[in-house]
């Protein structure tokens, strides 16, 4: 039952906080079990959703479709991995327990967000995921984390203010906040000033939440200053669900593809793809480079969505899933490097592939996947996005996507050279592979990247193309 995906995390928080000491020790296994249950649920319903079978009415959360199922799966995988990273890096048991409670709430927020079909409910769950994230970023109470959390909070407040104002206008227009009613009202009053203002405000809010350029000010600070497990969760899935997924869902189900929306997505997508990659080139902090890389990859998703075609939308959703996997893997590897060496400054690192072979190899796989090297998962999603752009007549944007892939390869090769290749740097002689809590998730994510890449011929007809048929 989809409703359980929101209710179970709430129950877990309530039960684990009963005044019984042994319950605290159950928090970590409970989080892992919930993530596994969610992954199994998503994998179980995905084939039925893709085959177009209508899902039965189930209490208040009944909206399952291929897009929702894919996102539920991605949330489960990233949450599962983040819990491992939390175990490896949190330090104190009490802090780990407190952070796990917030991870439960963030997951409940994201699950609710992908399952609802009502603008105001979407806003409520979006806020839940965001509030849990602000607190998680600042969890270690260090100056960097507090600054990152504050920037994210301020920008998010601006975004939610815009979205609330838009919801108010749309409610005035349609008398309801359900997706269906609002979509009907928008069609009836397509050229009204209220409609244009409401659309502009909502899209602006979602672009801020997605962290695309030029609304990205908060993102590098939040990603790089957050504790390792939080960076993994935030970069892997939180901003993807609260920003990118919400944008895809609303454009498809509510706002529709107008020429203005299409141009907006193309322009912001193109700026993010190129400027994000260029900014990543100039970074020496490993996590900041990954943060700018995220901005660039989100740009690709926007470009795919902007085509408005079945292929483009399927490719955008596929890249969203792939991005969740490879960016999570890269942040797990960054956590392993930081934990073992005590620094993220790439100029102080070198030759770590000899000392941390699993981290080195999985990092290389994630990098190749991000840059679009065949046959990894990221190659196929980028190829499909570029093909969709070309077939839709956006030849310039397609060429720009190919060019930016070379930039991606350039900054990731720079990362690999400085961190993993070459001679072992002074001070890194005694570095060893991080423990199983970090290597196991790395291997799991790398296996997904390779497996999805190799299984594409089967996936494309079975799961990818049906994504457009909501």
């Amino acid at each position: 039952m989809p409703s359980l995906l929101v209710i179970l995390p709430l129950l877990a928080v309530l039960l684990l906080n009963l005044p019984l000491n042994f319950l605290r020790r159950l928090a970590l296994p409970a989080a892992l079990l919930l993530a596994l249950y969610q992954a199994a649920f998503a994998l179980g319903v995905l084939p039925a959703c893709c085959a177009g079978c209508p899902t039965q009415e189930r209490w208040f959360l009944n909206a399952l479709d291929p897009l929702t199922s894919v996102l539920l799966l991605a949330i489960a995988i990233v949450a599962f991995v983040s819990v491992f990273v939390l175990r490896a890096t949190a330090g104190e048991e009490r802090r780990e327990f407190n952070m796990l409670n917030l991870v439960f709430l963030a997951v409940a927020g994201m699950n609710g967000l992908v399952l609802v079909r009502d603008l105001f409910s979407l806003y409520v769950f979006l806020e839940l995921a965001s509030i849990a994230s602000f607190i998680l970023i600042a969890a270690h109470r260090e100056m960097g984390g507090l600054e990152g959390a504050f920037k994210y909070l301020v920008m998010s407040a601006l975004a939610t203010m815009m979205m609330l104002a838009s919801i108010a206008l749309l409610l005035a227009l349609s008398g309801s906040t359900s997706f269906g009613a609002v979509a009907e009202a928008l069609q009836a009053h397509a050229r009204h000033g209220y409609v244009l203002t409401a659309l502009g405000l909502f899209l602006g809010g979602l672009l801020i939440k997605s962290g695309v350029m030029p609304f990205h000010g908060w993102l590098p600070d939040a990603y790089s200053a957050a504790p390792a497990a939080v960076s993994t969760l935030l970069a892997g899935i939180v901003t993807k669900v609260t920003g990118v997924y919400a944008l895809i869902r609303l454009v498809l189900d509510v706002f529709g593809f107008t020429p203005a929306t299409q141009q907006l997505l193309l322009i912001f997508g193109a700026i993010s793809v190129v400027a994000g990659a260029l900014a990543a080139l100039g970074q020496s902090d490993m996590k900041r480079m990954l943060a700018y890389s995220s901005i660039s990859q989100v740009g690709y998703i926007l470009l795919g969505l902007a085509t408005g075609t079945g292929l483009g939308i399927a490719a955008a959703v596929f890249h969203l899933f792939n991005h969740a996997i490879f960016k999570t893997l890269l942040f797990v590897n960054a956590a392993a490097v930081e934990k073992q060496t005590g620094t993220r400054d790439m100029n102080q690192l070198g030759g770590l592939a000899q000392k941390m072979p699993i981290t080195g190899v999985t990092s290389l796989l994630a990098m190749f996947s991000t840059a679009g090297v065949p046959p990894l998962a990221g190659f196929w999603s980028k190829l499909l996005i570029i093909a969709a752009l070309w077939l839709s007549g956006f030849h310039g944007y397609a060429l720009l996507g190919i060019g930016a892939s070379l930039l991606t390869l350039a900054y990731f090769l720079s990362l690999q050279r400085r961190v993993f290749f070459g001679l072992v740097r002074a001070g890194c002689e005694n570095v060893r592979e991080a423990g199983w809590a970090l290597t196991l998730p790395s291997l799991l994510l790398a296996a997904i990247l390779v497996g999805v890449g190799l299984a594409l011929p089967w996936l494309i007809g079975t799961f990818l193309l049906p994504v457009k048929g909501f």
Binding site: N98, M99, L105, G112, S121, L128, I131
Partner: protein
């Protein structure tokens, strides 16, 4: 409708909006947290009146109760942790805030005027939930999911206080 009545309504709306804006500005400008909290409460009260005028009594009641609930808890926690600023710090703070925010009311006014041109003719507001509607049916019927979401949001807020403040002691 009677033009005098409409004028009175317009005047009332302008006064309420102005009061709300002043309250919000005072909340971010004031140095002392207790005074800032009072200014925020004042803003909430004015917002409540606006909601009542818009025939949304439940929303107004929730605005007051939620603000007086979670936010007060957060403020009390925060105030208990800070130390008073020195005279020098206070003066520097006032200079900084004045420099940063003095244009804000003008910007808001211009945005409002601009939006009124963009949006064009007003749309008729849909009928609000009548005041006599059973609250339980509203909360456990159409908005049950939002209620669950808000419970979770409150829980996250409480957890934030626990993590960011309580551990310090």
């Amino acid at each position: 409708m009677d033009p005098t009545f409409l004028k009175q309504q317009l005047l009332m709306n302008i006064i309420l909006m102005g009061a709300m804006l002043l309250g919000a500005l005072a909340t971010v400008m004031l140095r002392q947290l207790v005074k800032a909290a009072i200014a925020l409460a004042f803003t909430s009260v004015v917002l409540c009146v606006v909601m009542f005028k818009l025939n949304a009594p439940w929303a107004a009641v929730f605005e007051l109760s939620v603000c007086a609930g979670l936010i007060t808890v957060v403020f009390i926690s925060a105030v208990s942790l800070v130390k008073p600023a020195t005279e020098e710090e206070r003066a520097a703070h006032i200079r900084f805030k004045t420099r940063r925010y003095f244009l804000l009311p003008l910007v808001l006014l211009l945005v409002g005027v601009g939006l009124s041109y963009v949006t064009g003719q007003p749309l008729p507001l849909p009928a609000a939930e009548p005041a006599g509607t059973e609250l339980r049916s509203l909360l456990w019927g159409p908005r049950a999911l939002d209620l669950l979401g808000q419970v979770l949001v409150l829980l996250a807020g409480v957890w934030g206080v626990v993590m960011l403040f309580k551990e310090e002691k």
